[in-house]
C-alpha cells in the first residue's frame, strides 16, 4: 500500500528528496556516499532505467547493495560494462555524455561552489580534507549537478577557504564567462530543505523546506544570510514505498558489509 509515510528521519527525507530529482533514463555520474544512496534509491523506485556511472569504471551499474567504496565488486558485477578509469573521465564525462553529476561535499558556499580540499590555508591547513577526486570535472562537465549534504554552518559557509569544484563562482554569469560547459548545480539537497540557484544571481535560495523544519532552523544552519523563495514549498514527505525501498537497501547493505550504514558516510570519494 502506498501512502505518505509518517515516521522518517531527516536523513531519510533528504535521501528521498534527492532521489526524486533523478528522472528515469537520466545518465548519472554518481559520487560515493549519499549521492550513491539517492541514485540507487531512484533506480529502485521511480527510475528503473536511470544509468549509473561510477568513476572507477562501471557503466550502467545495478548494485543490489550499496557500495561502501567507489570500486566495490558489486558495482562491476551487474554493470552493462566496466571500462578503465581514464576512459570514464575521457570518453564519458569529458565526452559530454553525462546528464547529471551527483555529488557530495564537505563545504558549499552561497554560489554552490564546493570545497573538499582544505579548511584553513592550503600550505598550512587547519583541516586537510581528502581532495578533489572526480568532482572538479563532474561539476564542470555534467549537463547539470545535484549536491547532497547535511546542512550546518560548518558546511554552508559564506566564503570557501578553497574552491575545489566550481558552482557559479561569484554568481551571475561568472560560470558561463569562465567557459564552463555544464549548466551547474541545479539543487542542493540537505536534511532541512532544498536550495536552488536564483535564476539571475545564482545565489542559493531556500525553495523547499522539509516538513516540521522551520525557516529559522535552516537560516541558523547556514553561514550566510540565506534568501528564502517567496514561493517556498514544503517538501513532499516520502511515500511508504520509497521509505521501505530505502530501508531495505540500507539493511541489505549493512548485512552484506557486516556493518551499519555503508554508503552513508559524508566524506565519500569523488
Amino acid at each position: 500500500m502506498d501512502a505518505p509515510a509518517v515516521d522518517f528521519t531527516a536523513t531519510e527525507i533528504m535521501t528521498v528528496a534527492a532521489s526524486r530529482l533523478l528522472k528515469d533514463g537520466t545518465v548519472c555520474f554518481v559520487g560515493i556516499g549519499l549521492p550513491s544512496t539517492a541514485a540507487n534509491l531512484a533506480r529502485l523506485t521511480h527510475a528503473p532505467d536511470v544509468v549509473l556511472i561510477y568513476e572507477s569504471g562501471p557503466i550502467g551499474a545495478k548494485p543490489t547493495v550499496l557500495p561502501l567504496s567507489i570500486g566495490d565488486g558489486e558495482l562491476a558485477l551487474a554493470a552493462d560494462t566496466v571500462v578503465s578509469t581514464p576512459e570514464i573521465f575521457r570518453y564519458w564525462l569529458q565526452g559530454a555524455r553525462i546528464d547529471v553529476g551527483f555529488l557530495g561535499a564537505a563545504q558549499v558556499d552561497r554560489f554552490a561552489n564546493i570545497n573538499t580540499t582544505v579548511i584553513g590555508d592550503y600550505a598550512n591547513p587547519k583541516v586537510r580534507l581528502p581532495g578533489a577526486g572526480g568532482a572538479p570535472e563532474i561539476a564542470s562537465q555534467a549537463k547539470e549537478v545535484f549536491i547532497v549534504l547535511k546542512q550546518s554552518t560548518k558546511a554552508f559557509v559564506n566564503k570557501l577557504p578553497f574552491i575545489t569544484s566550481a558552482g557559479y563562482l561569484d554568481g551571475g554569469d561568472a560560470r558561463e564567462k569562465a567557459g564552463i560547459p555544464g549548466k551547474g548545480p541545479a539543487a542542493v539537497i540537505t536534511d532541512l530543505g532544498i536550495l536552488t540557484p536564483d535564476p539571475v544571481t545564482k545565489e542559493l535560495t531556500l525553495t523547499s523546506i522539509h516538513p516540521g523544519v522551520t525557516v529559522e532552523q535552516v537560516k541558523g544552519a547556514t553561514g550566510w544570510d540565506l534568501k528564502v523563495s517567496p514561493d517556498l514549498t514544503t517538501t513532499a514527505v516520502p511515500q511508504t514505498h520509497e521509505l521501505e525501498a530505502l530501508r531495505d537497501l540500507l539493511a541489505r547493505t549493512a548485512k552484506a558489509h557486516g556493518q551499519s550504514g555503508g554508503g552513508q558516510s559524508a566524506g565519500g570519494e569523488g
Binding site: 567504496s69 565488486g73 578503465s84 578509469t85 575521457r90 580540499t117 560560470r175
Partner: protein, 288 residues
Amino acid sequence: MARLTPLREAVSEIIQNGDTVALEGFTHLIPHAAGHEIIRQGKTDLTLVRMTPDLIYDQLIGSGCAAKLIFSWGGNPGVGSLHRFRDAIEQGWPRPLAYEEHSHAALANAYVAGASNLPFAVLRGYTGSDLPKVNPNIRFIECPFTGEKLAAIPSIRPDVTVIHAQKADRRGNVLLWGIVGVQKEAVLAAKRAIVTVEEVVDELDAPPNACVLPRWAVAAVCHVPGGAYPSYAQGYSERDNRFYQAWDAISRSRETFTAWIDRHVRNTADFEEFKRVFAETAKSKEAV
C-alpha cells in the same frame, strides 16, 4: 621480460630509494602485500603517485618511506580521514611530506599520456577550481586550430609501477578484470613494473579484448595469493570493509600505528607470515 620471482627479490632489485613509484588499484586489486614489502625493506625518499592514496599509502607515509606524494583523493573510502597522511602533511611526522595535488580526471589523463610516451596531457579540466593556483604543474594551452583554452599537466612516468592482478601464466603474461582502474596505463607509463598475482596458471584463458599485459611489458611477476588484502581481487576474495573501519583507530595515533606496523609488517618475514600474525591478532581480539 617478466621473471616469476619472490616479491622480496622483486622489490629489492626493482625499487630503489628515491624512485618515483606508483602503486595503483582503484579500490579493487590494491597491491597491499607489495606496499608492506616496501616498508619491510625500509625503502625511502620515494615519490609516491596514486590517484587514491588510501590505507596502503597511509602505511607507507607513516613508515617514513615517502618524500613526496602526487595524488587526487586521499582518504579512507567510506570511513574518513587518513590519519598518517594528515599527520605528515599537518605536523611533518615522521617526516615532512611534499605533495602535488590534482583531480582524478587530470591524473588519469597523465597516466594515459605517460603510457603514450607524451610529455604532457591535455584535458578540459580545472575550470573555476583553485587547484591551478596552488599547483604550478597545472597550466593552460591553446588549441592550435580553434584557439580554445585547455588544461595541461605533465605526464606521469614512474620509475616503477606496482599492481596486483588476478592471474599470470607461467611465462609472465598477466590478466586482470573487473574494475581495472588505471592499472594498464600505470604499468605502461612506468620504466619497470611489478605485478603480484592471485594465481599462476598454465593458460590465461583470457576473453577476447581482455585487459592483458604481455610478459615483455612487465619486469617481475610475483605469486602472492591474497596480496590485495584488505582490498579484494574479484573472483578470489572480498573486500574486508571491517579492516578499513578498524584502520581508523589503529592509525589515529603514532603509537598505535607504529605498534601495528612493527608487529604485522616490520617484524614479519613476508606476506605469508603477515597473514598468520594478522589472523592471530584477529583471533585474540575476538577472544577478548
